[in-house]
Structures are given as structure tokens and as C-alpha cells.
Symmetry: C2
Subunit: 186 residues, 2 copies
């Protein structure tokens, strides 16, 4: 029963954010999916910055993703680079203009205002809870990573070991070399 409630609330937050995002999109003449692509590219590692990974992440067809990327390329939001080893694969990367667009389209005002409604000293505690929730969701997500932890953008080297910056989990040296199940799509 409680289970349902918690995830129901998450769905509500998700819907709210999406609604705000769509409004921003029409403002800039983009579709939500375009922002999703930019967001993905701002977070993926070099093992998952390909059209194939993007296709898997978005759940669209290869053809559509190809067209979408073409559009974003025309607008100078992303750049294509052919892999030097395997010349079949294409690496996608965000260009400065793409990053700028992503920054503008984020519901940052919404978040700024929301934080005013939360007690400042509670935010740290919220943080921990939320990260646990996210971690659980990621673990149950079937879309696994193709990247190594040590190449993840959240990977951090500490004096006393390794740390995943997103889940705040300690990682062993061995773990860092393994394929990451957590961050691929994020």
C-alpha cells in the first residue's frame, strides 16, 4: 500500500516536470524528445554516446533517431564523430549551443522556487532519501549500462578509494573496472 503511494508521488513529480518542459519546448520550437536527446548526451559516457544507445534509451526506432540527430546537427546542437577503431560507430557530442539550450530549457525556476518551500536544513536529508529511491529505480531498470564505472561522469577518485558521485556508493578498485549497471541511461 505504502509502496503504491511513494511511486505514485514520483509519477506526479515526473508529470509536473514534463508539463513544464513541454511549455519550454514550444517556446524554443523544439519537441520534448529533442531535449531528451540533449539531456542524454550531457550525461552519457563514451560507451553510450552512439545512435544505437540513444535508440535504446529513447525507445524509438533507429530511423527516427537518425532523423532526430540530423535535425539537432543542423541546428549545431550536436556533433558527429566517427569512431577511430570501429568505423561503423558514430559518437555524438553536445556542442556549446546544445548545452546552452539544455540549460535554458530546464525547469530551473520551478526548482528554485520549490526549494524555497522546503526547510533549508532538511534538504540534505531529502537528498539521501531521493538518491536511494533513484538507485532502486535504476537497479530495476532493464536498460543496462554498456560503460565502465571508471569512465562514468559521476565517478570520483577519493584519497581512500573510489566513489560513485550519483549514488554516493563506495566502489572497490575492481568494481570501477566493471560494466556499470546504474548510469548508462543517465
Amino acid at each position: 500500500m505504502e509502496k503504491t503511494t511513494v511511486f505514485d508521488v514520483i509519477e506526479r513529480m515526473s508529470a509536473l516536470i514534463r508539463s513544464e518542459e513541454r511549455k519550454k519546448c514550444t517556446e524554443f520550437g523544439l519537441q520534448p524528445v529533442h531535449l531528451q536527446v540533449l539531456d542524454y548526451l550531457s550525461r552519457c559516457n563514451k560507451y553510450s554516446d552512439t545512435p544505437a544507445s540513444l535508440t535504446n534509451y529513447l525507445g524509438m526506432t533507429r530511423g527516427t533517431v537518425s532523423q532526430t540527430v540530423l535535425l539537432l546537427e543542423k541546428k549545431s546542437y550536436v556533433k558527429k564523430t566517427t569512431d577511430t577503431i570501429d568505423r561503423r560507430v558514430i559518437h555524438l557530442s553536445l556542442l556549446p549551443e546544445g548545452k546552452a539550450m539544455l540549460g535554458q530549457a530546464r525547469p530551473s525556476e520551478l526548482f528554485n522556487q520549490a526549494s524555497d518551500f522546503l526547510k533549508q536544513d532538511e534538504l540534505g536529508h531529502y537528498d539521501e532519501t531521493m538518491v536511494n529511491m533513484l538507485s532502486a529505480l535504476q537497479k530495476s531498470n532493464k536498460s543496462h549500462s554498456f560503460g565502465l564505472c571508471k569512465t562514468c561522469q559521476y565517478f570520483t577518485l577519493l584519497p581512500d578509494g573510489h566513489l560513485c558521485g550519483l549514488t554516493k556508493e563506495q566502489l572497490t578498485e575492481e568494481d570501477s573496472g566493471k560494466i556499470c549497471q546504474e548510469h548508462r541511461a543517465l
Copy 2:
């Protein structure tokens, strides 16, 4: 700094849910926005079940929403009813088939599995935190309600007063008659 992290995590959850949802969509031959409409209609009250409210919620144009509703009507997911008092107004309602579709398309498996990764005794605590977060987001959302609290689907009558079932807030008799700022779009 902490502020950024918390909302960043929410954005990650949101992105993950959307990704899963899109996969479900293509499975059923629907667009994400169609599910958004069904979801909205399952939660709106009689003051916000109109195409105009839906338009405001989705951030799309009236024409587009009109077409979208037409499509969902053809598929027997929703039903239109003309308002008896103001004959310009149309009320939309979910049909059983629409509810069934909504149930199928929800990332329920994702949530079920995610809950297995969380300690059962912590879920209640998570619940409180998440509801606070959602409440803060809703407060800062500019899309205000057009409905009265007492008509909200989350409104509950208790022996000792009134309760908002979503935010768990106590409501005075007076509050219950006011326009709700919290739940319109949800």
C-alpha cells in the same frame, strides 16, 4: 549546492520513467502525449476535465489537443459530454478501455521491482519526504487550480475534519471550499 543535487535526482527519476513509458507506448501504438492525456483525465476533477484545461496542462495548442482527443475518442478511450449549463464546454471522461490502457502502460513492473531494493520499513519514511517534495513543486508550479478542494479526488472527509489525501494536510471547512492551488493539473 545540495538544492541542485536533490532536483537533479528528481530529474533523473523523471527521465527514467519517461524512457520506460515511451517503450510501452510504441508497444501499444500510442504517443507519450496520449498516455499523458489518459493520466490527466484519471486525476482531474469536474472543473478541469475540459479540453481547455487539458490544453493548459499539456502546453500544446487547442487545435492539437482537439485532434488528440478525437483520436482517443475513436479508440474508445475517452468520452465527451456537453456541459448542461454552459453548452460551449465539453467534459472529458475516461472510459473503461482507457483506464485499462493506462493501467497496462504504467511502469508498474519498474516500481514493483524498485520497491524490492528498498527496505520495507523505510518506505513509510520515504513517503513523507516525497510528499513534501511534491508539495513544494506543486506550490511553485504556475499552473494553478481551477477546482475546489472539496471536489478534488484526493479530498477526504474525516471524523475530526477534512484531509487532503495527497499532501496529508489537514483542511479547514473554509479551505475545502476554496480554489485548490495544488491538485488541478494532477
